[in-house]
Structure formats: C-alpha cells, structure tokens
Amino acid sequence: MKVFLIDVALCMGCYACQIACKDEHCGNDWMPYAKPQPDTGQFWGKINEYVRGNIPQVKMSYVFEPCHHCDDAPCILACLVEGGIYRRHDGLVIIDPKKCTGCKSCIDACPYGRIYFNEELNLAQKCTGCAHLLDREWGFKEPRCVDACAPEALKFGEESELSDLISQAEILHPEYGLSPRVYYLNLPKKFIAGTVYSPVDDEVVIGATCTLTGEGDTFTQTTNDWGDFWFDGLKVGTYSLKIETGGKTKTISNISTEKDVGLGDIALDY
C-alpha cells in the first residue's frame, strides 16, 4: 500500500511539485486514470502558503497537499455511479473518467477540497498519484511531484518501508476521521518570538534567560547574539513568558497562540 510522506521542514517553497504536476497532467491524456487537466485553475498537487507571526518575527510555511487517497474516502461513497470512484490495490483512489457523469457529488463530499471540476469535459478530476507512471515497466515509479522535489521533502513509497517515519508523522485534519494516506512531518505549530533590548544601554540583551510556561509545558532559552529568542512547536493555548538577566525580570502574561506571536522588541528595564 502506497503512502505520501511530506516533510514540511525541508520544503523551501520552490513550487516545483505543483508545476511538475501540471507538466505531467495538463494537455496529457493518461487514460484509464485521468483525462487532461485544464491549463489553469486546477491544482491536483497544491502548495498552501502560511505566513506566520508578525514583523519582524515572521516565518513562511509551505504545505504541499495532493489528494489524500483516504482509506475511508468519502468520495467513493458519494459517487452515484457503480465503481465511478475506486481504490486501486496499492491504495490510490481514482475517479474513472469514463464513468464520471459530472454530478459533483464527490466534490461536495471531500472535506479536504481536493477534487476539481472540469467544465469543458464535464468531469470531476483530482490527483491520481500518477498511477500511470507507477504502472510502467520502466523508468522511475513515483509521482512527478515527488520526482521534482529537490530537497526530497516529498517522499512516496510502501507504507511498510516508511513505517518508522510514519510513526512520527501527522495527518491533516485528523478530526475528519478518514484515514488519509498522506503523512506529514514537521507540520507548523505555533511560535512565540521576540528580541530583548535595554533602552538604557541602547543595545540588545545577550544571554537573557527566557522561560515560557503554559499548556502544561515549561521551556527555557537564552537570547542569542542578536537578543533574539524563538520558541517554536507550541500548542494553541495561553502562555506566560519570564525574561531574566542580572537580577532584572520582566514577565509577559496571557500570550495567546491562536496565531503565531512575534512580540517584537521587548524593553528590559535596567
């Protein structure tokens, strides 16, 4: 059974996966798995961009999202035609372009929003996991997006062979309960970051001890040579930050991590 394994930390947002997907599927007919993807408007493999934090503490996260090829795929159940959407023996979920009537039931059923509608062909279309490439006798046997990924943030392979990494991985929207076959490492969590400075010295404060408490955890960092601290991988919740150096203390309470937090420049009074 095949899986996608995506390490978000390795992705630098080059979009090669999204472009390679279009290169493979736009204008190319890969029956029996897929009719051509329209030139624009569909993203079978899509990069989602997240701008995190606020100036000057900002991070970008890019999360690639193909079809999740769910074990409990709601699109299969929603399809009104017998066998119109089916699962291959390797786990990939395929919309049969020959059987699709264009009723859009599957599009409404997919909570991930990964199915597109082709007006011209009156077809529901989505990522096939490049099943046509996997079936080949020769050449590379992986989806084009995975082949195109220079930092190897995208991996594709046998579930059994990737089980070690899968055990550390997450899925998108586990609350949907659909057992997707796309796993993620290092999905963005929340961060709290800032720069500590002394208004008296007009300098950043190096080596200040920052203690962050909240959601049952306590983390400690010291500010670096630029006076910066950066707590990443936090839960959504409320945190309290204590900054200490040379007998001076500053506490910031009730920091909400609904969104990532850039606290900006924090004056430590001497």
Binding site: Y15, Q18, C26, T40, V51, G53, I55, V58
Partner: protein, 352 residues
C-alpha cells in the same frame, strides 16, 4: 527576424572549467530552423550585404574574412592547436564529434592546493590580493587616486542620504517623503528571470507571482505591510497605483507581514502594458517599475542603474476613471495566462 536556437544550427562548442573533463565537441543540427529563424552569423551577413548595397563597401569581406562557418570552426580548432593535443585531424574530429582533454597529470597535487583566500590568510605578503596595496582595502586606493572628489562613490563606502545638489534624492530621510513616503524595493523576481517567463500561465497562478484583480487582469504584486495598507484604505487583492513624479505603475496589493512598514515591494521585470506613455501622464498597467526609477546613474563616475530602491507613494487605483480616460488601452485583447498579446503590438504579421 528571430535568431535560431543552438538546436537549429551546426556549430563547434567547448565545455570549460570542468577541471579534468574539459571538452570540445560538435553540436549537430538537431532540427531545421523554425519558420524564418536564422543563425546570428547569417543575420549579420544579410545585414552586411544590405549595407554594402547602401555603399558600405567591403563590409562582407571584413565580416567573414573570406571564411565559411565551417572554416571558422576549423580556425578555432587550429588556433587552439587541438590537432597536436588530440592527435586527431579536423576531419577525424568532425567524425568523432568529441574531444575530451586529458586529466591534469598533477591532479593529486592540485588536491593539496589551498582553497580561496587561505594563502592570503596565512601569509599576506607572500600571497597578496590583486588590489594596488595587495591588501583588503577599506579605503579604495584606486578610487582615491582617480576619483578623490566623487562624494557619491567615495573611497570609503558609507551610507549617503542624498538630496538637493546630489545625483539622487531617494532616501526615506528625504524631504521628498512628504509626497512619496514609501521606499519602493525592487528585486530580481522570484518567479521569472527579469522579463523572461513572465508569460508562463502555471507560474502566474502562484500567489506571489501575480495578483488577480477584480477585472480578471493579472497584476504584478505590490507588497505592503498591513499598517501601510490600512492608512491608505487598501485591502489584499486591490488594484493599486505606485507612483512618483516620473510616472505610475499599477499592481495588485499583497498585504503581508512579510514586508516592513515604510516599504512597498514590487519585483522588476513585469512586462510593460502601457495605458499612457505621455506626454501628460506615464501609466503602465503591467507593473514595469523600471519606468519610474531614477534615470540617472549611480554617480557621475559609476555607470550603474538605480532601480532597486526609490521613493514612491501607493494608492488605490480609480479604475473607472482610467477606463473612461484611456478606452483604447483597455480595449486591447488580454490573456491572463500570458499577459501581453503579440498581435496587439506588432503590425503585418503573416498569415500562417
């Protein structure tokens, strides 16, 4: 007349700088020239022929020096003494198609060579740099000698505000910020090479490549911090005008924490799609912001372009007013996938 690609011509090529594997090879013609395409050699030759008819005698002879393309290829082979080095005659090489130079016999010694500036670091007298003093120069001896009075490119580089009486007045500390309070930062584009690939529909779908305006036009993004956008009543996706006294370029607002307050970022290289090119107004819809950058060089003695930072103001564009004033510009055909349309700008295109 388009110039042909390397695939359409027969040529000799060299791959250099590959350490042990430098090579000389014949690049076969893979396909016939497409349509009217000609090699740069043939184009120049035809121009020379036409100029001769206008009285520039001897031009063709001067250009070709009596040699054909293949004779010039052989000339390159001969002047590099490649027959001696390779043991192949020109005819044999043409048939073989490839000659790879032998490895440096001292390649093992080369591995011991000191990298980069290591020698200078260890013994700066024995391994001087190529500066007049042989040292790293905080103050340029060369500039001090030749341009001692150039206050805009002084021997010791430092930050200059500029202003009245200077070549440039484009700093955020300038009086001009009263009218143009934002610094336009313009870098090489992330999704194309200068203007190349500005017409690729798959790239234009990427969120920071183009911003789709309400009118369906794909505008070049102008990044603004939320505080700057709010001051101007601009929201993400608005069609906005970035302007100074030199003109106006349009763009699509990308309101983001990824840019500092006080700055408007727009990549350069978006292809020009003029609404008005004077004499009263200069307005470009494509977002070719080189149109509104300072025209003067870096300093009187440094012939660099000043296109990466200059003062502007940004405001929401009154598209209704623009459409009413310049109906012709807005009547042109448009393709969001490639932007400009060739037929809008070139007359006398031959029917296929």
């Amino acid at each position: 007349m388009p110039v042909s690609t390397r695939f359409e011509e027969y040529d000799i090529c060299a791959a250099q700088g590959c350490e042990g594997l430098n090579s000389v090879f014949i690049a076969e013609q893979a396909i016939k020239p497409v349509d009217e395409a000609k090699t740069s050699w043939d184009i120049s030759l035809e121009i020379a022929n036409k100029l001769e008819k206008l009285g520039c005698t001897g031009l063709v002879e001067k250009y070709t020096q009596g040699k054909s393309v293949e004779e010039w290829m052989k000339y390159g082979w001969d002047t590099q003494e490649l027959s001696e080095k390779s043991g192949m005659t020109w005819e044999q090489f043409k048939k073989a198609g490839l000659y790879t130079t032998p490895w440096d016999p001292d390649w093992e010694q080369r591995l011991q060579d000191k990298p980069g500036a290591r020698g200078f670091y260890e013994d700066l007298k024995a391994n001087p740099l190529q500066t007049p003093t042989g040292l790293l120069e905080y103050e340029s001896t060369f500039l001090k000698e030749h341009f001692p009075d150039d206050r805009e490119r002084p021997p010791v580089p430092h930050y200059i505000v500029g202003g009245d009486g200077w070549t440039h007045d484009e700093s955020l500390e300038s009086e001009r910020t009263k009218k143009y309070p934002l610094l336009c930062e313009s870098n090489h584009p992330r999704w194309r090479f200068h203007a190349e690939m500005d017409d690729c529909s798959w790239l234009r779908e990427i969120p920071t490549c183009k911003v789709k305006g309400v009118d369906g036009y794909m505008y070049e993004p102008i990044w603004l911090h939320p505080t700057e956008a709010a001051k101007r009543g601009i929201v993400n996706g608005d069609i906005v005008s970035m302007y100074n006294e030199r003109g106006v370029v349009l763009g699509g607002a990308y309101v983001t924490e990824r840019i500092r307050p006080g700055v408007a970022y727009q990549s350069h290289g978006a292809r020009m799609d003029p609404i008005s090119m004077g004499p009263d107004e200069y307005i470009d819809r494509g977002g070719a912001n080189n149109l509104i950058c300072p025209a003067r060089t870096v300093s009187q003695n440094a012939a660099g372009m000043v296109c990466s930072g200059f003062l502007v103001e940004v405001e929401k564009t009154d598209m209704q007013a623009l459409r009413a004033k310049y109906p012709e510009a807005f009547a042109r055909d448009y393709d969001p996938g490639c932007g400009l349309i060739f037929e809008n700008w070139v007359e006398g295109i031959m029917e296929k």
